[in-house]
Amino acid sequence: MQTVKMVVTGPFNAGKTAFIRSVSEIDVVATERKISSEAEKVKETTTVAMDFGRITVDDDLVLYLFGTPGQKRFDFMWEILSEGMLGFIVMVDSTRPETFREARGILQTFRAYAPTPYVVAANKQDMPDAWDLEDMRVALRLDPKVKFMPCVAQKRDSVKTVLLELLYSILAEMEEGQS
């Protein structure tokens, strides 16, 4: 059995667990715990180790999706999770501009770990107070070449689009490398 992996990262409450849940064929092996910190109580639980989803491609190939823990104190896990990844997705909560700076930091950290392709997904674009994509691109200081797309992590089609864009980037980089 051949296995490959992709990593889904981003700040706390960006929607990483929901993203993996939308496409995983197994119940996501989530390691969620009740949040004890009042400051971070924008939701009831958070991922403390990692999320783990699976997509079987055929009898011989499986894609694993790993979600990084959301809270900063677990960032020691990032480097371990990033090892051997085909690429990564940075999830950003479009409704919480106070997390944009952290998202930039996470993106830079992952780029430093491994020079693999990545895409940035603006999650919660269906919410009324979601930031406009172009404004977010400026706030996140993303280069125009970086793939940045809207996302609603609960919707499978939206998640599929993000995953496909990452795979297209991986393919494009392989073709560039060969030419």
């Binding site: 051949q2 296995t3 490959v4 496409v23 997509i55 079987t56 491609v57 055929d58 190939l61 894609l63 480097e79 990033s82 090892e83 051997g84 990844m85 085909l86 700076r101 952290e102 930039r104 930091g105 830079q108 950290t109 780029r111 430093a112 770990y113 491994a114 020079p115 693999t116 200081r141 499978r156 599929k160 995953l163 496909l164 795979l167 297209y168 991986i170 393919l171 392989m174 073709e175 490398g177 060969q178």
Partner: protein, 271 residues
């Protein structure tokens, strides 16, 4: 009983707050990143501070705070090496070189500067032992901690923000490719120019900090302003070993790898 702990669990600001509120007297030893600080308090006020290998002598503090010149410092070291700080202070006052205020304000500046530096320490161990004071010959001061705590909290917030912005000092910088940006027309401070002169994907931020003699906080501040102005962007430092990406594909054959990615694309489309 000594109060012991880890700075991860109990920050410098919380420690100073405790010492201030409980009006504690004694010695706080902090083993930080690469050096050790020893701070003495009397009734909740800063009395004395010493950092790392610094000998903490009055002569060296007066020299650091520019109250005496290099040659005067050398002379004092040769001729007064057997004297205590109190004896030396008295000698300098009686000889009319310095006033008592000069000496006390120098010590205050030096000690508070050491405490300020501690606010950037987020890793390390601390131990507070009651009723331990510096040797008799040392001159102590009485500095209220409130302002230092407020300033420290502010600095800590800034430090946390800067760490989020620039998470690793092993990254390098390069000038952004924005046509029309003329660096000469931008008003930069002396520190910013010093850093700008080293900007190259070959130099990690850590190397630049060392060359420009800046601590972590100072270099992060400068780089943050350069990033905000859109003059530079962070890149992986050239020549640094690339983090071993591990085995990405189960096969090394490029065609098989492409076929594998195409299979993944097909599968995701079919979901």
């Amino acid at each position: 009983m000594a109060l012991k702990g880890n700075l991860r669990d109990f920050t410098i600001t919380q420690l100073l707050n405790l010492i201030n509120m409980a009006q504690k007297s004694g010695l706080l030893v902090i083993e930080g990143p690469g050096e050790t600080a020893k701070i003495t308090f009397r009734q909740g006020k800063l009395a004395y501070a010493q950092l790392g290998q610094d000998d903490g002598s009055l002569a060296s503090i007066l020299h650091t705070t520019r109250k005496i010149s290099q040659s005067q410092y050398q002379l004092l070291r040769q001729r007064t090496s057997q004297m205590s700080d109190k004896e030396l202070g008295l000698l300098l006052i009686n000889a009319g070189y310095l006033s008592q205020d000069d000496i006390l304000s120098s010590l205050q500046v030096h000690f508070t500067e050491i405490v300020r530096r501690l606010f950037t320490w987020v890793e390390g161990f601390f131990k507070f032992e009651q009723d331990i004071y510096p040797p008799d010959g040392k001159i102590t001061v009485r500095v209220d901690l409130e302002n230092l705590i407020i300033e420290g909290s502010r600095q800590l917030r800034e430090w946390e923000q800067l760490q989020e912005e620039i998470p690793s000092l092993d990254m390098a910088m390069k000038f952004t490719e924005r046509p029309g940006t003329n660096l000469r027309s931008v008003n930069l401070s002396v520190e910013e120019w010093r850093v700008v002169s080293y900007v190259s994907p070959k130099n990690s931020i850590r190397m630049i900090a060392r060359a420009a003699k800046m601590n972590d906080l100072e270099i992060r501040r400068v780089i943050y302003s350069l990033l905000q102005a859109g003059l530079v962007e962070l890149v992986r430092a050239e020549g640094t070993p690339v983090a071993q990406p591990g085995r990405q594909f189960p096969t090394q054959n490029k065609d098989e790898q492409k076929s594998l990615v195409n299979k993944l694309i097909g599968r995701i489309r079919s979901l």
